[in-house]
């Protein structure tokens, strides 16, 4: 079953789980099952049936906007990652040394 990576801010909807399995042949189907099991995710992920603008969704590291959007096909071992958009720049705070 495809594995969906949940960002920290959305884990309140998945009982803290960072990775959740959900079935489907496309990203859209996977998300439908995901939202059916964790209803709180729906409003945070979608607005007007589309993935919200500041959320990026990747299938095997590739942004689905450049594949086939929610129709992007997924396979059993596909990783679907949901990530918040982060502004770039070249800041390098000394964290995690």
């Amino acid at each position: 079953m495809p594995l969906v990576r949940i960002p920290t801010v959305l884990r309140k909807h998945t009982d803290g789980a960072a990775k959740v399995e959900a079935d489907g042949a496309t990203v859209g189907e996977v998300f439908d099952q995901l939202v059916a099991r964790h209803p709180g995710l729906g409003d945070d992920l979608f607005a007007d049936g589309q993935v919200r603008g500041f959320i990026n969704v990747y299938v095997d590291d590739e942004d689905i906007r450049y594949v086939s959007g929610l129709d992007t096909p997924v396979e059993d071992d596909t990783e679907v990652a949901i990530m918040p958009a982060v502004a770039g720049g070249a800041e390098l705070p000394s964290v995690g040394r």
Binding site: R52, N56, E62, R65, A81, M83, P84, E91, P93
Partner: protein, 312 residues
């Protein structure tokens, strides 16, 4: 090459082949932007931000420049403002590395610290507030200033075309979006079949953890239409490629260079055999030594330790 002063010595960087790292049947080239005067691609951007403002009368002699940055743009602006006689204020998070504070201070920059826990978004907010309160300052604002992408459209792009007219694809990291947008538009104007890929840094939970999804940010400079795809690269892959670049090709680059190389190697199989692919190396590795990215040891452990820092 002889120049009157540092502001004229920007650009015309080497485009270097990577015969040992290129996938079979393809050739990867790296545009070494670390060869710019202050050591990064941002010298090009700083020059355009300042000189476009001069040209359009947004910046008067001696006027103060204000920009939220503690990174390469700040350093590039600092050198340029010094020789052009503009006082510069940089707004940056208070947990910025000591190296950067020292470098900016040496260039005579006035530093204002924003709260560490607000990250770069906090610096942007504070700088915007200062600019609103004090109309005498000029804020170039690289995230929203078309001069950022224009620098690449007018300089980086043409240099690549001159050196490698058959370029099939270009890869650069996604920060402000200036490189992919400017170079991408120029290369596509030259040859509409050129493919443009963005390498997006993927950090650890530590970086994303505190972000509210509503506070996301898509820089105005980025034109998502010019991209053929956008591929995320985690710290381990970026670091692995960065270290291989030093070990196998003798090039010491910053970690974001490794991210672009990972994408460049990955997209080769989408291109006809024999294609030449250019990746951008925004800077050398010098400013990242203190992160431990190049230290001896287990690469996976090092990648985990740097995944909490913004390495691109």
């Amino acid at each position: 090459m002889r120049f009157g002063d540092i502001s004229q010595a920007i650009g015309n960087t080497p485009l270097v082949g990577l015969p040992r790292l290129s996938p079979d049947g393809y050739t990867l080239y790296l545009k070494l932007e670390g060869e710019n005067p202050t050591g990064s691609v941002k010298d090009r951007v700083a020059k355009y931000l300042i000189e476009q403002a001069e040209r359009y009368g947004q910046l008067q002699p001696g006027q103060r420049v204000l920009e939220p940055t503690s990174g390469n743009t700040g350093i590039g602006l600092a050198a340029l403002c010094k020789v052009k006689g503009y006082p510069l204020t940089c707004v940056m998070p208070e947990n910025t590395s000591e190296e950067r504070t020292q470098l900016l201070t040496m260039f005579g920059v006035d530093i204002v610290f924003s709260p560490a826990n607000e990250g770069s978004n906090g610096s942007v907010r504070l700088a915007q507030q200062f600019a609103a309160d004090d109309p005498t300052v000029f804020m170039p604002f690289q995230y929203g200033n078309p001069a950022n992408a224009l620098a690449h459209y007018e300089t980086t792009g043409p240099e690549i075309i001159a050196d490698l007219p058959d370029v099939a694809a270009f890869v650069a990291g996604l920060g402000t979006g200036g490189s992919v947008t400017g170079v991408g538009k120029r290369l596509k104007a030259w040859n509409p079949h050129v493919r443009i890929f963005a390498a997006e840094p993927e950090y650890g939970d530590l970086v994303y953890g505190l972000r509210n999804l509503d506070e996301g940010y898509v820089p105005e400079v980025l034109d998502q239409e010019v991209l053929d795809s956008r591929i995320k690269v985690d710290s381990l892959k970026a670091l692995t490629w960065t270290r291989r670049l030093a070990e196998e090709e003798g090039i010491f680059a910053g970690v974001s260079t490794g991210a672009s190389l990972e994408v460049a190697a990955r997209v080769c199989k989408r291109l006809p055999e024999g294609s030449d692919v250019v990746a951008m190396s925004p800077d050398g590795g010098w400013k990242y030594l203190s992160t431990g990215a190049y230290a001896p040891g287990n690469v996976e452990e090092i990648a985990t330790s740097i995944s909490g820092t913004l390495w691109a």
